[in-house]
């Protein structure tokens, strides 16, 4: 089979057909700083750094996407919150921006085009698009309106709001939905190929299915319908089998799946309805040698590659800072060796 571009490879698998090889998404963010010999804060402080970092990693690891995602709390930063940087991990969000349910009543979403931290991301997307055109998918990222409050107000306070103050909860959802739609639209306009809709709170790991049906499911259907481009839903290590019948109904084309569930079972559950993306263990990956990487890749390919509808990736949506270059290179090599569909489709 003729070698495909990354875009062709991904589009083919999204169509539930077999490309030349299994697409590999190394969802790398902070590693760009290592490429440039910079600290994490310094790296994300400059658009040119992030563009250069992403392009260098694309070339080095020969994987199949660009990931202009900075860090999760960037959206909280946009709402006026604090971002706390670390030297050896992703930035965290600081004190909650919503300190009481009553504050929700006066909340209004930030204007994407007047928010410096978001404008930086848009500039990175434009810069990447100018470099790769339509040959490599550029994956924009939004936090779902349903999951963003974990950073806006803290997990515990959010659970309590959900259970005890439904009026404020739904008010918050409406405000967050408006922002999410604006933010996704701006990224698509800047050149993103697709939007990754991070929605860990919707996972049955976090809330029961019955609760999801009344909340996250309704919100995802409304929000994804308002995004004028392809959407991948990622539950950030959370399980999804308990809602596998519902996720495709939200309009998502891809589901990021957990290492806590079996890939073959997931593949069957989503067959023909959504592409699954996962589920390499990013935590264990920091200790992988070439043999470990090959074993993990071969196993995933054997369980989920047949017939397309599969993208190999980590299970969380962001590879930890501690994962070394050698492990990432080994994963790339293993995919090129064992992920080829020209092996006759026998991946067992």
């Amino acid at each position: 089979m003729k070698a495909m571009s990354s875009m062709e490879r991904v589009l083919t698998t999204l169509g539930h057909r077999e490309p030349d090889r299994v697409p590999l998404f190394l969802l790398l963010t902070m590693h760009g700083a290592k490429e440039l010999g910079l600290g994490i804060k310094e790296y994300f402080g400059n658009v040119e750094h992030v563009v250069e970092g992403q392009l260098r990693m694309l070339k080095k690891y020969r994987h199949d996407c660009l990931y202009p995602f900075f860090y999760a709390p960037i959206e909280v930063e946009a709402w006026g919150g604090e971002v706390i940087y670390a030297d050896d991990g992703p930035p965290n969000s600081g004190a909650p921006v919503i300190t009481s349910a009553e504050k929700v009543a006066s909340l209004s979403p930030p204007d994407v085009y007047r928010t410096p931290c978001l404008l930086k991301v848009l500039d990175v997307i434009s810069g990447l698009k100018a470099n790769v055109g339509g040959t490599v998918p550029i994956i924009g990222v939004v936090m779902s309106p349903f999951s963003l409050p974990v950073m806006q107000m803290g997990f515990g306070a959010y659970f309590e709001l959900m259970h005890e103050q439904p009026d404020f909860f739904w008010k918050l959802m409406r405000v967050n939905e408006a922002f999410c739609c604006d933010w996704a639209t701006a990224q698509l306009k800047a050149g993103a190929t697709a939007i990754c809709y991070f929605d860990p709170v919707s996972s049955p790991t976090i809330i029961p299915r019955e609760h999801y049906l009344e909340t996250g499911f309704v919100i995802a259907k409304r929000t994804i319908a308002s995004i004028q481009g392809p959407v991948a839903t990622h539950l950030a290590s959370g399980r999804c089998m308990g809602i596998s019948d519902l996720l495709p109904q939200t309009g998502t084309a891809v589901v990021g799946v957990s290492m806590e569930e079996d890939l073959d079972v997931l593949k069957s559950a989503f067959a023909g309805k959504a592409t699954i993306m996962g589920n390499l263990n990013g935590i264990a990956m920091r200790n992988w040698n070439a043999e470990d990487a090959e074993k993990a890749v071969k196993k995933a390919v054997s369980l989920a590659a047949r017939g397309g509808g599969f993208i190999l990736s980590d299970n969380h949506g962001e590879i930890p800072w501690q994962v070394p270059e050698d492990s990432l290179l080994a994963i790339g090599e293993a995919v090129r060796e064992w992920g080829r569909y020209s092996l006759g489709g026998d991946h067992d």
């Binding site: 706390i84 670390a86 050896d88 991990g89 992703p90 965290n92 969000s93 600081g94 803290g154 997990f155 515990g156 659970f159 309590e160 959900m162 259970h163 049955p204 790991t205 976090i206 809330i207 029961p208 609760h211 290590s237 399980r239 308990g242 290492m259 806590e260 263990n281 935590i283 264990a284 920091r286 930890p320 800072w321 501690q322």
Partner: protein, 220 residues
Amino acid sequence: MERYCMYDPSDSMLDTAFWGALMRSNRHDAEQIMRQLLVQTSPPGSAEKLVVTALERIGADWESGRAALSQVYMSGRICEELMALIFPRTPDGNNVSGRCAIVLLNDYHTLGKRIVLSALRASGFSIQDWGQMTQEQLVAKALESDVEVLLISTLMLASALKVKDLKTELDAKGFNGKLLVGGAPFRLDKRLWKDVGADATADNAMDSIRVLSSLLGRQS
């Protein structure tokens, strides 16, 4: 309500009713069940047994994927509040002695700590909450407080890995307590707690009751 009047601590129907109220995050029903229990019978530790039985079941449900984190969190919080409300003289639960503290090490994700704290306090443990600390702060506090068990909660891998440096420094400075670690990195990498030199790990809040009891040399 009548069926609660004949409470026997082994009454599985009562246990199931209380568990059901917690799984629905229904504080009112949970409180009514516990108050009925205490009106009709007051064997020592019966309320605590009711709480522990329900939280153990929810912990097992969480491990098997039948319960969600929101249910674990709300259950722990409701139980902690009920125990404090019904037994106001022991709001922190002082039935199980032992100098223990829980802390976040260089991590800002408080939920796991909160869940573990609620479950332990509702089960009668006295646990100091040290909030979030850097290694330097934690070493000083641990030495000054002379705790028997230090529970460390993490979500970020970088924070989990920092336990190794913490352990080295604590050992060098003569800390005699034990380190019990927990959180997502330790769940996802089963060797990690040993790699960082911890004395034990617990997979969830209810498991922390068992492990902490063991570290303190008591039966859970």
